[in-house]
């Protein structure tokens, strides 16, 4: 494997990690506030569809982005209604949202465009253009660093850089602001937050708003990258992001490394149908299943223990 191949694989890892990272951070905010979010997949899909559809109709990815974020937010609020306002089961609500998105995107998409659930292809302003960072052409001729800068660091769409910037930002919000402190507290001990006179309900809804926006960005990225919405295009990425979240032990920087790792696995799986290691051949199906297998191993506590926020999944019922 030569140097350029390595760079190309890393480049597509970053490309594939971007939606995972945004979705993973969405889950991070939600679960840190004590709302388990297995509906990430649904939000991602809903956002991808709405952004793809609106971008196709209007020719503007920015309007698409707005629509995608709005759709994802609507799903987030529905989750909030069920799990915060009505103290419903968060897991069941998440499962329902995933199905709702899977069904609605096809039913509405078919009646809207009559293309079997797809949207028309996006082109021109309907997609995010990749950004070439300064001097990338000139730098490309420099040995070793040049190709790395030109291929790997430069030449992504705005959302990739937004996703990368969201990592330190999330860290700062969670660990250096009062809002973040309260948000984390509400996921650990909502009773204490309530006693301190801070609204548990408002904090949890705020966390779901952030999660909705981040999933909206991720979905728009998917639609823009693939130049349109395709049936079931999230393809389990919401679940992979959930897996990455467990891997990351609900921490922003770890989330970056976890999603990059899963992006890398996907990139390798896409590039090689099967990998020969001496006498053993690793089938492509194994590569596809690897993130899930790793998550199970982590969850079992064989490699480090993943301890979720303590109040996660439990509705908070104020004592009367």
């Amino acid at each position: 494997m030569d140097y350029l191949t390595v760079i190309q694989i890393l480049d597509s890892s970053l490309r594939l990690a971007t939606p995972l990272l945004l979705t993973c951070l969405a889950g991070l905010f939600s679960e840190r506030a004590g709302i388990v979010d297995i509906g990430l997949e649904g939000k991602l899909l809903a956002a991808a569809f709405l952004s793809g559809a609106v971008a196709a109709v209007t020719g503007s990815i920015w309007l698409g982005l707005l629509a995608g974020v709005a759709g994802s937010l609507a799903f987030s609020m529905l989750h909030g209604l069920a799990s915060i306002t009505f103290n419903g089961d968060q897991l069941i609500s998440g499962v329902a949202l995933n199905f709702l998105a899977a069904g609605l995107t096809i039913v509405v998409g078919q009646s809207w465009f009559a293309l079997g659930g797809r949207t028309p292809s996006l082109f021109g302003g309907g997609r995010f253009e990749s950004w070439n960072l300064p001097f990338s052409d000139a730098m490309a001729r420099v040995p070793v660093i040049g190709p790395a800068y030109d291929e790997l660091i430069s030449g992504h769409t705005a959302l990739t850089y937004v996703a990368l910037a969201a990592v330190p930002l999330s860290w700062w919000v969670l660990y250096r602001t009062r809002f973040g402190l309260r948000l984390r507290a509400v996921g650990e001990n909502p009773g204490a937050v309530d006693t301190a006179g801070v609204s548990v309900v408002r904090l949890r809804y705020a966390a779901l708003v952030i999660a909705g926006v981040l999933c909206g960005l991720a979905g728009t990225y998917l639609a823009s990258l693939a130049a349109g919405f395709v049936k079931d295009m999230s393809a389990g990425r919401g679940y992979i992001a959930l897996a990455a979240l467990i891997f990351a032990k609900w921490r922003p920087w770890y989330a970056l490394w976890a999603t990059l790792l899963f992006g890398l696995l996907e990139a390798i799986g896409n590039r090689y149908q099967s990998i020969a290691l001496g006498d053993i051949v690793i089938p492509v199906q194994f590569m596809q299943a690897l993130p899930y297998i790793l998550t199970v191993i982590i969850l079992a506590g064989f490699v480090g223990k993943a301890i979720p926020p303590r109040a996660g999944g439990k509705p908070y019922v104020k004592e009367r």
């Binding site: 297995i38 529905l78 209604l81 069920a82 799990s83 009505f86 103290n87 419903g88 089961d89 968060q90 897991l91 069941i92 609500s93 499962v95 329902a96 949202l97 995933n98 199905f99 709702l100 899977a102 069904g103 609605l104 096809i106 039913v107 509405v108 078919q110 009646s111 659930g117 389990g236 679940y239 959930l242 897996a243 467990i246 089938p283 199906q285 194994f286 596809q288 299943a289 899930y292 297998i293 998550t295 199970v296 969850l299 079992a300 506590g301 979720p308």
Partner: protein, 366 residues
């Protein structure tokens, strides 16, 4: 505080939730510019109007009874098993291996053999998440989700590399032998002079599913193990205090759950396709969640809910055919059923409780 009467809790709340789900589904149909009433007529006509449609409806119903019971058994133990899909996939593999590797002389022998194969493989796939939950505290919802994906990759790999007929185009196993053919409704009813469509896939597995529902009732409400499962599901600490071993209950409940999901394969793999095809489960495992929620984890409710979803599935296919409404509409209905009966339960319950409270107070005053 007076409580609501039992009938309201068991019948009225689910009924209102389901009506809400259907109301919103109707809105979706209306929003995409179709007539909801026309759609219902098409679905009923397509699902019950002739024996071919009815055969398909009952075929789907059979699948959903198995997966619904599977989700419900786990639910009684307080476990939310999202892994019925993967367990049913592995069950399909088990059934296929049994059917392909044994030269069965007659279906009466092949059916029990395949049932053991399917149940064993399904249970084995449920065992790992169960063990991880019981012993290592890994959340069963997350592990079963992961196991669905792993199952899909595993079955895909085995099908492609070991079961696929060399040279064939389609990713599917060889056809099962004639001795493994299960009697269809057409063959079962013909001796009684009842004409049933030859092409409908409903088969004897339907009878097995009904027997499984009865066995489920006996197990959960009439045996010691069932009592322990329910006690553990109600309160883990109380169950522990009463000397119930939590590890044992979690693992046994999940093994039964996985076995029931695996049993589904006698219907779709052995009864219908008569070979293992890729993605044979077609989401029936997930529908089991809606069926169990809707049926309130009671076998009678589950059979009725499975029949409703069987109708929706077959009717949805007709809808796609005649009205050009995508059959994914069924997924939307399924989602709304799960949402309203599962997650938004309190939205219906709280006002209703207040209503009953007000009514009983007025009666006392009078």
């Amino acid at each position: 505080m007076t409580k609501m009467p039992k009938w309201a809790d068991a019948v009225l709340i689910p009924l209102i939730s389901i009506l809400l789900a259907f109301f919103f589904s109707g809105l979706v149909i209306w929003a995409i510019g179709k007539d909801p009433f026309m759609a219902i007529r098409t679905m009923v006509q397509g699902a019950f109007g002739n024996t071919n449609g009815l055969g398909y409806t009952l075929y789907y119903t059979t699948n959903f009874i198995f997966t619904g019971l599977s989700v419900a058994v786990a639910y009684h133990a307080g476990l939310f098993n999202i892994g019925s899909e993967g367990q049913a996939m592995l069950g399909g593999l088990g059934v296929a291996l049994v059917c392909l590797n044994v030269p069965w002389p007659h279906w009466t022998l092949a059916l029990p053999g395949a049932m053991i194969g399917g149940a064993l493989f399904g249970a084995a796939w449920a065992f790992i998440p169960a063990w991880l939950q019981a012993k290592r505290g890994s959340h069963i919802v997350i592990t079963t989700i992961m196991f669905n994906f792993i199952a899909s990759a595993l079955v895909g790999y085995i099908l492609l590399n070991h079961l696929k007929v060399p040279g064939a185009m389609a990713t599917e196993s060889a056809r099962f032998g004639a001795g493994a053919h299960l009697p269809t409704f057409h063959e079962m009813l013909a001796p009684f002079g009842i004409g049933f469509n030859r092409n409908a896939p409903a088969n004897i597995s339907f009878v097995v599913a009904i027997l499984a529902a009865i066995a489920f009732y006996v197990l959960i409400w009439r045996t010691r193990l069932g009592y322990e499962i329910r006690a553990y599901g109600q309160s883990e600490t109380a169950a522990k205090y009463a000397g119930i071993n939590p590890v044992r209950i979690v693992i046994i409940a999940m093994l039964i759950s996985g076995a029931l999901a695996g049993l589904m394969a006698i219907n779709n793999v052995m009864g219908e396709a008569e070979r293992l095809i890729d993605n044979a489960v077609e989401g029936a495992g997930f529908i089991g969640i809606a069926v169990a929620l809707m049926g309130r984890n009671h076998p009678v409710g589950i059979v009725l809910a499975a029949l409703l979803f069987g109708f929706l599935y077959q009717g949805g296919a007709e809808l796609a055919f005649w009205e050009s409404i995508p059959r994914e509409l069924v997924v939307v209905i399924q989602a709304l059923v799960i949402l309203f009966t599962g997650a938004l339960d309190n939205m219906v319950r709280i006002p209703l409780e207040k209503l009953f409270l007000a009514l009983s107070r007025r009666r006392k005053d009078a």
